[in-house]
């Protein structure tokens, strides 16, 4: 079984928000809601400051608190690539999954169900990249199978210094940030 994930090059990301717009357009998201977003982190002491710009979304974790806590089975791990999805028809909008995500990657859609990034599974199953990856003008986002050592993402994660978000939360995220 494959394990789909991303490697995001924070040295290349310029925060242009093309990925955000592409996601909203591709997935017809309601106004005011985002499945992906841009985060800018400035750290250090003046004048020795560093700034990292990165595009963020659901980490499609391998150890998924959002799936474990779901009382109806609406939150589930898809057979294809271990992508974490929500079955809108099963969701009751209890918000347990929203509260259980350390990354605040989920929200409640105005129609009442929990919503989040799907890695554009409808595109990926047809051999395409997710919309956000396909439009990135700096090619900072790389998508593929992390279980395949010959895939581009695996090679990047293996060869570059990288990190995941909140590793101490123990969720084993599948989005790696290249530094």
């Amino acid at each position: 079984m494959s394990r789909l994930g991303m490697a995001i090059d924070t040295r290349k990301c310029v925060g242009c928000m093309d990925c955000v717009v592409a996601c909203k357009t591709e997935n017809n998201l309601p106004e005011g809601f985002d499945r992906d977003w841009i985060t800018t982190e400035v750290s250090g002491s003046f004048p020795n400051l560093t700034m990292q710009i990165r595009t963020e979304r659901c980490n499609h974790c391998s150890d998924t608190p959002c799936v474990s806590c779901c009382p109806t089975g609406a939150s589930h791990i898809h057979d294809f690539g271990g992508v974490v999805l929500v079955d809108h028809d099963l969701c009751i909008g209890c918000k347990a999954c929203v509260a259980s995500c350390p990354y605040d990657a989920r929200y409640i859609h105005p129609d009442g169900y929990a919503d989040k990034c799907t890695f554009c599974i409808h595109r990926v199953e047809n051999g395409e990249d997710p919309a956000c990856v396909s439009v990135c003008p700096t090619y900072c986002m790389h998508f593929g199978d992390l279980d395949d050592p010959n895939s581009e993402v695996s090679k990047l994660v293996a060869s570059r210094k990288s990190s995941v978000q909140h590793p101490a939360a123990g969720t084993k995220p599948n989005i790696f940030y290249l530094e």
């Binding site: 928000m17 955000v20 005011g32 809601f33 985002d34 977003w37 841009i38 985060t39 800018t40 982190e41 400035v42 750290s43 250090g44 002491s45 003046f46 400051l49 963020e56 608190p65 474990s68 806590c69 779901c70 009382p71 109806t72 089975g73 609406a74 028809d89 099963l90 969701c91 009751i92 909008g93 209890c94 918000k95 347990a96 929203v98 509260a99 259980s100 995500c101 350390p102 990354y103 605040d104 989920r106 929200y107 409640i108 129609d111 009442g112 169900y113 909140h166 101490a168 939360a169 123990g170 969720t171």
Partner: protein, 315 residues
């Protein structure tokens, strides 16, 4: 050292401050806790053979529990964002989901409460049930129903009380909640609130004294559990230490120290200790303070827990 995080995200209920659960969930957790306590007290009284005593609170508690639990369930229903799908809870059992466990526990609680009610049915049921006295006599004299109701009350009461805490403590995402002691805290707080309630309404003098003494023990244990809960957080990861300070010195400190620890536990404990030693008369002041303290505790934990976060920027 500077660590400034800005985001383009502005999802409703998530940004800028995470707040997906409003008043409905703390109300539901409080009601679940106090009903759990009432069931345990009622089950224990039945076990001791007190159901035949006309002034035993175990004759009234299941009726109150039934009404309260229905109000709690309605609050939970109001919280759902996809209300017409609520029945989906009962089309599956998700073994890893505390909420699924809770949904099924709640479904089992009702038959036990109804059996308990039918052991001493209220007079207005005369209109609907033919010869209710005979029915209740059969219920009380049937050893199986008696034991099932007694142990069912205790076991399901414990399950319900613990579940209200596990619902939150299972979430690693909210550092304040992520302690297994939260289940113990909510259980003991529920028991304490239920004992305070019986102390307030009991018609039997011995029962009132007993429940006041029991409540003093529950309140003392609650203080110890709160101490251990905070100590556990303070000895954990950075985010949990910061979560503990939200209660100790942060924006929730006044609510925690004044309304939960002071007015909710210590003051009623002092009053009730004097009352059981016959230094002052039993009044409703201490029980009301205990019950209010339990309610405020649920609001505090739900609110502060949502505020606590893995992102340091939120503190």
């Amino acid at each position: 050292m500077l660590n400034e995080i800005t985001t383009s995200r502005s999802n409703h209920l998530i940004d800028p401050i995470f707040h997906v659960w409003g008043w409905e969930i703390p109300i539901y957790l409080f009601i679940g806790g106090i009903v759990a306590g009432m069931m345990i007290i009622s089950g224990y009284s039945i076990m001791k053979g007190r159901i035949t005593e006309p002034d035993c609170s175990c004759r009234i508690l299941p009726r109150i529990s039934f009404i309260l639990l229905s109000i709690g369930m309605f609050a939970l229903f109001l919280d759902l964002e996809y209300k017409i799908h609520f029945w989906r809870l009962y089309t599956t059992f998700e073994i890893k989901s505390p909420m699924s466990w809770g949904a099924w526990i709640l479904l089992l609680v009702y038959p036990v409460l109804i059996a308990n009610i039918l052991m001493a049915p209220p007079e207005y049921l005369n209109k609907y049930i033919k010869n209710p006295g005979n029915l209740s006599k059969k219920f009380r004299e049937n050893r199986f129903i008696l034991n099932a109701t007694s142990y069912g009350n205790i076991v399901l009461g414990l399950g319900l009380g613990v579940y209200t805490g596990v619902l939150l403590s299972s979430m690693v995402s909210r550092p304040l909640w992520n302690s297994s002691l939260l289940a113990v805290l909510f259980l003991i707080s529920g028991l304490s609130a239920a004992a305070a309630f019986v102390h307030m309404i009991a018609r039997n003098v011995v029962e009132r004294e007993t429940l006041a003494r029991a409540d003093n023990i529950f309140l003392s244990i609650e203080l110890v559990v709160i101490f251990l809960f905070i100590t556990g957080l303070l000895n954990s990861t950075e985010v949990q230490i910061k979560a503990a300070y939200l209660l100790l010195t942060g924006s929730y400190a006044v609510t925690f120290w004044v309304f939960v620890v002071g007015l909710g536990i210590i003051i009623p404990l002092l009053i009730q200790t004097r009352a059981v030693n016959h230094k002052v008369q039993h009044t409703a002041i201490a029980p009301v303070l205990v019950i209010m303290g339990g309610l405020i505790l649920r609001f505090l934990i739900v609110e502060a827990g949502q505020y606590s976060h893995w992102l340091n920027a939120h503190f």
